[in-house]
Symmetry: C2
Amino acid sequence: MNEHTYAVIMAGGGGTRLWPVSRKNRPKQLLPLLGQETLFQSTVARLIDLFPPERILVVTVKEQASEMRAQVASIPEENYLIEPAPRGTASVVGLAAAVLKQRDPEAVMAILPSDHFIRNRDLFHYLLRAAFKVAEHNYLVTLGITPLHPSSAYGYIQQGELLSTEFKYPVYKVKRFKEKPDEETAQGFLRSGDHSWNSGMFIWRADMILAEIGKQMPALFAALERIMAAWNTSNRDETLKSNWMDLKSETVDYAVMEKAENVAILPASGLGWNDVGSWDTLFDVLFPDINGNVSTTLQHLAMETHNTLVYGNNHERLIVTIGLDDTVIVDTDDALLVCKADQAQKVREVVEHLQKHRQEKYL
Amino acid sequence: MNEHTYAVIMAGGGGTRLWPVSRKNRPKQLLPLLGQETLFQSTVARLIDLFPPERILVVTVKEQASEMRAQVASIPEENYLIEPAPRGTASVVGLAAAVLKQRDPEAVMAILPSDHFIRNRDLFHYLLRAAFKVAEHNYLVTLGITPLHPSSAYGYIQQGELLSTEFKYPVYKVKRFKEKPDEETAQGFLRSGDHSWNSGMFIWRADMILAEIGKQMPALFAALERIMAAWNTSNRDETLKSNWMDLKSETVDYAVMEKAENVAILPASGLGWNDVGSWDTLFDVLFPDINGNVSTTLQHLAMETHNTLVYGNNHERLIVTIGLDDTVIVDTDDALLVCKADQAQKVREVVEHLQKHRQEKYL
């Protein structure tokens, strides 16, 4: 990868559907959810073969930055961009692009979530190299995930005609970005063969995405200009904050990409991608035994139990399951979740309930 | 009740099907399973209106005696009979009868388990008074429970003809004691109308049951004679122990009652009796909410959950259930059980597994 390529890791989110393990101050990406490494550490680890740490940026919030630095010491301090408050991916992308363009007018950047799992690192590298090639040809590139089931938990991207045969990977024009569909619509997307899951991974030239923001989000663009004018002065933090708080929270997909020209997609199959979005996704990421059970605790005694996840960290505690099917059990010090696997999305409502009733200790 | 009536509480058992709350050194009857009182305390409390503490005996094992004395201070020290080791209900009954006969040749005694729940105390008193009347007419009396469902967890007693119209309660001759049936046989018992659940509660004259033991269990009878000869000497403990260890473990139902003459049954309906034998029985004893859920913890958040028991004592812990039906969750400090309610009997196998694998800390 050439010296103008950069990776930008977005890491401001929380992961409410992974409660009670994921908490306000221990968000999903900072937890060793799947083993020894945290999702953030894994994300950096799979980039480090392509990018030296000086060309990896992290955009996050103040509350998470120090833990991130503790988990990954290699990324330089000045590569952490701190959002004064969460304002959606469009703002994050704009800030990162503006900072990179100021550092390097030729910058080409990949935007990558911090909390996704990717099993096949080699394919990911191959795909990312191809995507950078396409981006260098002035396309706004997105990586799509070829769907494996009719999920209504993801947004979708519909592809159009093949863009070119000159890349070592099939690349298509993007026809439309689509919001999370209902189950029936998702069935149609799956059958159509021309829809991908929206992975939230994008690759583009910094100047190109900024120009697009200038066209479609003039308020954000103007704010970014004011912020960058003060970036190398003592007023950086103050200017960032005062401009940032007024921004509307919008996603880059719908506020920018949807209406942009020259949007391309590389659909990926076999990445082993998973957004680890809710507890039921762990069946895909970890390794079920012959009965379909997954246990992270050493002390799980399963009797007539099938397709059940037992997630616990306290190896002094014995967990016994009898006669269970398709169930998720998450055992932490101060909270226990027992949930039918197909209702794992509802964990989000638990967190909303706790917020509403001000049960801060469990948040 | 006249001065020759006695109550004998049998309390040596463990209650393995109530693991992980019931443990080797914290057996079922010594736990406040259903609220403030332990089952043992409730058992004493419902006898104390009929018997002064001096006429209530407790047969138990050494490991449990001190905790029992701590829970019930009113029963005199000398009324605790300590089994050197568990040797079945026939041995317990024989020892209690022999001791009582020595104290009071006219003694009539009720044998009562320490770990059952009875909702309607007034009816229990009424029934017991009637049963003592029948026993004073030289019958070996048992209390039957009119079955409410085709349980295969209980033994059954088939009744014969009406014994007499002179008692204030219908009393029948016993036709047969029957072991725990399979489901289909239990259906037949339920339909027959002449079968009761075997409650393990018996009422008889001490001299009569001893005579019956003399006929049917000569080895036990001889041992009891040797034990009683030394009872008021300094050799009591030694003689008890040396004779006790050789006894075979047998139940009074099958070793004595089955072949006895003059066996009578008082079938009880509406006692609200429950043997609290396994976790699913708590749905009958505690008070389910409108969704059929029972929670003993203050912090249970139930979403789309029905007919589910959440049993926990740690009110700092939040337990969330989503999409569960017919499930039992028992949460303790060092062990968690999640079990389909209709498989609650299998908890016994968990304890056997733990014994086999020498996981002493969880027993």
